[in-house]
Structures are given as C-alpha cells and as structure tokens.
C-alpha cells in the first residue's frame, strides 16, 4: 500500500503521528513510502521489532536501502494480511512430531499470496524476508520455490528458473559419479 494521500488525509496522518501511532512508515531503496501495522511488523520481523523497540523508527519513513519498492510492497502486504488473518490451529499448535521439522504448511492465503508472484518478485521477497528477519515469510517463500523444483530433472529445473549450466563436462561428470545414487534412474 503506497502512501498517496490528499491534503486532508495528510493533515490527519500528522495528527495521528503526534499521538502514539499504530503504524510505522518504511522507505524502499527507490524512495517510496509504505505504511504497515506496527504490531504485525514487530511480531513478524525480528529486525523491525528491534528497530521499534530501540526507537530507531523514523516517522518520515525508515530507510530500508536494501529493499526495492516491489519487494517492500509485498512485505507490507504480507504483514497487513497476516495481521487480519486468524491463524489456524495448525499454526498455533506447538506440537512437533519430529523435532527437526518445525515448518508448518503454508496457510491457504499464504499459498495464494506467493502463487501470484513472478519468479523475480519471489526471489526478491526471499531476500527481503531474510534481511528483515521474517522467519515465517522466509519459510513460505522458500517452500514455494522448493515446490517448483520437486521431482523435476536438473534440465527441467534449469529451464524453469533460467539457470545457465556453467560446469565443464568433466566437472559435471565428476559430480554425477560422486552422487551416482541420486541419478540411478536417469
């Protein structure tokens, strides 16, 4: 949600700013401003939580120089959607069957949220989530990418993600031998 307000609304925003604001304004690398629920930002991002607690939030827009406007818009959108969604029992439940598998399946809305993204937007969002310490968003985006790779041959994966094979023939042969077990049925 880009902040693009009329005069009256800007006046209103200043008034709110004087009181205790319940949103924070974030500024992307290309200078665009986005407003996000303070509660959701603090809950979902360890970095933003630290900045809010440490008082290093700038009311005129906290600079996030590493994040472009498209990725930041998605981050803000995710936070606001998260603030409005009621987490399912699966997310709340702390029971973990195998203590090394703490990842919980994406919620329906999270799935839709990442499904609509282009590849580039998805990768940018992974980096933004990583930079901001947003564990859940990082989980959901990495899960989406892994779903796109699952069960595909290396050639198919290269095609999907436009990966250029920069190995020499010899290097490739060496790796395939080392991992012979993974290539049995090729």
């Amino acid at each position: 949600m880009e902040v693009d307000k009329g005069k009256g609304e800007a006046e209103e925003t200043r008034k709110v700013a004087e009181a205790d604001r319940d949103t924070v304004t974030l500024k992307s690398s290309d200078g665009k401003l986005f407003e996000v629920s303070k509660e959701a930002a603090a809950r979902l991002s360890t970095v933003l939580a630290g900045m809010i607690a440490g008082g290093s939030i700038d009311d005129n827009g906290t600079d996030l120089k590493q994040i472009g406007s498209e990725a930041l818009e998605n981050v803000v959108d995710y936070c606001n959607k998260h603030a409005n969604s009621i987490p399912s029992a699966a997310l709340i439940s702390s029971s973990i069957s195998f203590n090394t598998a703490p990842f919980k399946e994406p919620e329906e809305w999270e799935r839709k949220f990442v499904d609509r993204l282009s590849h580039d937007a998805l990768f940018d969002l992974v980096e933004a989530a990583n930079f901001l310490g947003m564990e859940r968003l990082l989980d959901v985006t990495c899960h989406k990418i892994s779903e796109m790779m699952k069960g595909k041959s290396p050639d198919q994966i290269r095609e999907v993600f436009n990966i250029k094979n920069d190995y020499t023939k010899e290097e490739l042969e060496e790796i395939r031998q080392e991992l012979a077990w993974a290539f049995y049925d090729d």
Binding site: F98, N99, T100, A101, F103, H119, D120, F123, D124, V126, E127, N130, L138, C142, H143, I145, S146, M149, K150, G151, K152, S153, P154, I157, R158, F161, N162, I163, K164, N165, D166, Y167, L172, I175, R176, E178, L179, A180, W181, A182, F183, Y184, D185
Partner: protein, 303 residues
Amino acid sequence: MGISDLGPELLDLILARLPLRDAARASVLSVAWCRSWRHLSDLDFTSPRAAVCDREAIDGVLLHHAGPVRSVRAKITDDILPGVHGWIEALSQQGLQSLDLTFTPPSVPSSLMQDLPGSIFSCHALKDIVLAGCLLPAVPASFTGFPSLTKLRIKCSSFHKGSDLELIISMSRKLEELTLKVLLVAGCDERQELRMESSSLWFLDIYGHINITWVGARLPRMSYANFADASPGGSVVNLLRGMESSLEKLVYSFSTHVPHHSTMQRACFHAIDLIQSKNASYGRDRYKEEKIKPTYSRGNMQI
C-alpha cells in the same frame, strides 16, 4: 535477479525443503549449487521420493557431507544393515541431536532382532531418540547417560539385560518424555523385575512389555501417564505408586479380559482419589475440571 543469485545460505534453505534425492541432484544445476546438499543438517532417508535408502547412497551422503548433521531418519533393511555401525560412528562426531531408526521388519521383538551398534552411546549430543525393531547394545561400563537426551521412544525392541533399560532412563538426567512399547529382554524365560527412576521425567507412555515387570518407581516429577492394556497389572500399580505425588493426568485403557484387571482398576481409583484430594488441598484453580473427573468410555478411563 535469478534464483542462483540468492546466495548459498538461502539456497540451502530451499534445498532443506526438498527430498534428499532432489536436493543432491540440484548439485549439477550450476556452480552456484555445487555445495547444495553437503550442508543440509537434517537427513531424512525415508521420504517417499528419497529413493536413497540403500547402503551406497547413505555411505555417499555421509562420506561427502560437510557436517554438522543435526538429525537422521532412516529405515534399516537387511541389505543396508552392514553400514549402520560406520554411520553411527561417523555421526557421533558430527554433533547428531536426533536419531530415528526403524529396523525392518519391526513386528515383534525377538532374540533374532538386528543389533544397534554400540557407538550410539558415544553420540553425546543426542536430544531425541526413536528406535524400532532392534536389539539395543549392552550399556558399556563407562556409560554416564545421554547428557542432553530429553525424548526417548523405543518400540518393538529388545535388550540384552533389563538393567540396560534402567540405566539409560536413570542416568540420562534431562530425560523428560519416555515412550516404551512392546519391549522384551532377550533370552530370558523369567520375568525381569525392573525399577524406573528419574527425577526429570514428566511424560510416560507405556504398554505391552513381554517379560518385564516394573516392581518399583521413583518418578517425582511425573505429571502425565498413559497406560494401556498389555502392561502387566503389577507394573501399573507399582509405577503409579512412584508418581502419586506429582501425577496430574492419567489415561488408562484396559479390557476386562486382562488378568490383574481388578488390581489395576483399584490402583487407578487410588490414583484418582489422590489426584482429587491433592486438588482439594491445593485449591481448585490449579487443575482444570476435566482433568480430575474420571470418565469411562468403551473400556477407557481418563482422569
């Protein structure tokens, strides 16, 4: 940007969500992916698409792994059995925290079960152990417990000596949750009389001991116990006595065909009385209403 620009740490996060076989195959995509699976800390050889549960595969993975390995889950079939000793030996040096091994077929425990290698006792970082269908190695004289172990689940398995089980429980001083199902002390015709002692256990799920009787218990922190049918009646009574002071929830399933049934029932009612009287003296708010109401349903008694 392309996917390969994400950098090795983020690529690792993506690979960690893939079946092991897919993660390994990603090595050939491009140079950026060459380290791929070598850094995965959770190795699950059982996932449906893993198709790697053969000896060569597991050898290959562990041999080329950059470590540390946090968790391993595998099904051990006859043809890969000879490798198990070396793997556990290697993993004990890698800070292994979670081990889940199912030896097949894990139907009923017998003296013919496959040996779990003794090197498991040198995996000092283990926090979580799940074992099924194996003969546990004899506890070495130098064993001082698994110092970090909090969860232990053993199913359809056997022991050389009953005291091995006693020692693992009592010496692992952080052990909190214990599940023991269908266990046998190998090569013994007589019932083995064991004691269960732990000052850290709070959860116990137990049934179906073939020739083990628990004759005593000291479990001062036990708050949740789940007993089922096949536990010999005497065991239930004796275990309950050892946890009376702290027990908050008891789930007890039984059928009236089991010998000692009435003794078990009496012991359970005694435990209910204790929980209820404790509740009265500590004030009602300490326990939820449903926890203290004994209820019957199809041979199931829950407090």
